[in-house]
């Protein structure tokens, strides 16, 4: 994949059709904390109420068309030093290194966007080998396995915790 074709930008309501194409796919939302979106109305609501207002929740675009998203959300109060990373890419475009390209951009954006941010972390379920490979290629460090860490799709899951520090950027 030619990296210049991949970009990150804020979602627009006009992305609704492209967004729905991948957000309605169970394979894509399988490990996400939000559920598959099946109607254009729900897609519009999601874009309007969640994706667009968030400080950092851009669309991953291929030739400026939405094929996924990245989300970076810092904690509050004492936890402002760390932020949680989430992302998804349309199944149609898996296996081409797109997530790696997009996340490398997002990671360097994050430390600029959130001053005081020191640590980015991501939780990846044990079965989600695809995402584990992406994390490693982007330069995240796997720190351990957190057992019965949290709910995903109604079940308590074990999750690997990965981190990327601001100081890792210099390497």
């Amino acid at each position: 994949m030619d990296p210049s074709r991949i970009s990150l930008r804020r979602f627009q309501l006009s992305d609704v059709d492209d967004f729905l194409k991948w957000a309605s796919d169970d394979k894509v939302t399988r490990y996400l904390r939000w559920n598959t979106i099946t109607s254009p109305e729900d897609a519009l609501t999601y874009l309007e109420k969640i994706a667009i207002p968030q400080t950092y929740r851009p669309s991953i675009c291929l030739d400026d068309r939405s094929i996924g998203y990245v989300s970076i959300k810092p904690g509050s109060g004492d936890d402002k030093c760390r932020a949680h990373l989430g992302y998804a890419v349309s199944a149609e475009y898996w296996g081409q290194g797109i997530a790696t390209i997009a996340l490398k951009m997002a990671v360097s954006d994050a430390f600029k966007e959130f001053p005081g941010l020191v640590r980015l972390e991501a939780l990846v379920e044990v079965e989600n080998m695809g995402s584990q490979k992406v994390m490693e290629k982007v330069g995240f460090l796997r720190e351990g396995l957190l057992r019965k860490y949290g709910f995903c799709k109604g079940e308590i899951r074990d999750m690997f915790i990965y981190s990327f520090l601001e100081t890792d950027l210099i390497k």
Binding site: R82, Y149, C152
Partner: protein, 172 residues
């Protein structure tokens, strides 16, 4: 050694509370800040200790000498909770904190039925705390880099967890 028990704190415990909470060594190793006055401590009692879902005094023969607390998560984190503790310096080295942790974890999963995971963190060089968690049956899961702000600096911590399904440790 006398009897170690856990019970909720009461406002009348304020002097005993201050004795360990303002202990320099305790302040150095925990996130608890020094209280400049009894009024500040009473404020802390009112705002943090009393409304807390699970904040207990570690007692020696009924007298508070430390604290142990458990904070359950919510939303997708509702299956887990975070445990913290501290003990007055003059009581260190006698297995009291370990006893307190084992006592709390032996009833925690019944008291908080949705909880399947209790987690606790320790600074990498806090050998005493690390030993407490190991003796209490917690499993070390990894080092989380710059995870916690401690005295204004982001620090690495060791993550430990005890699951409801982990083998029980005797409270003796």
């Amino acid at each position: 050694m006398g009897e170690i028990t856990l019970r909720p704190y009461e406002v009348s415990d304020i002097d005993e509370f201050l004795e360990w909470a303002n202990d320099e060594e305790v302040n150095r190793l925990s996130r608890l800040e020094h209280f400049n006055s009894k009024e500040d401590a009473l404020c802390y009692f009112k705002e943090v200790v009393i409304p807390h879902p699970c904040y207990r005094a570690i007692c020696l023969d009924g007298r508070p000498i430390g604290f142990i607390a458990f904070e359950p998560g919510s939303g997708t984190a509702r299956c887990r909770g975070y445990m913290g503790y501290a003990l007055g310096t003059k009581y260190w080295g006698q297995g009291i904190t370990t006893k307190a942790v084992k006592t709390l974890t032996s009833t925690l999963f019944k008291e908080f039925p949705g909880i399947e995971r209790v987690e606790a963190t320790a600074g990498l060089d806090n050998k005493a705390s690390i030993r407490v968690l190991e003796k209490a049956g917690f499993q070390k899961e990894g080092i989380l880099r710059k995870w916690m702000v401690f005295k204004g600096i982001t620090t690495d911590v060791l993550m430990f967890a005890l699951l409801s399904t982990d083998p029980p440790v005797s409270t003796s």
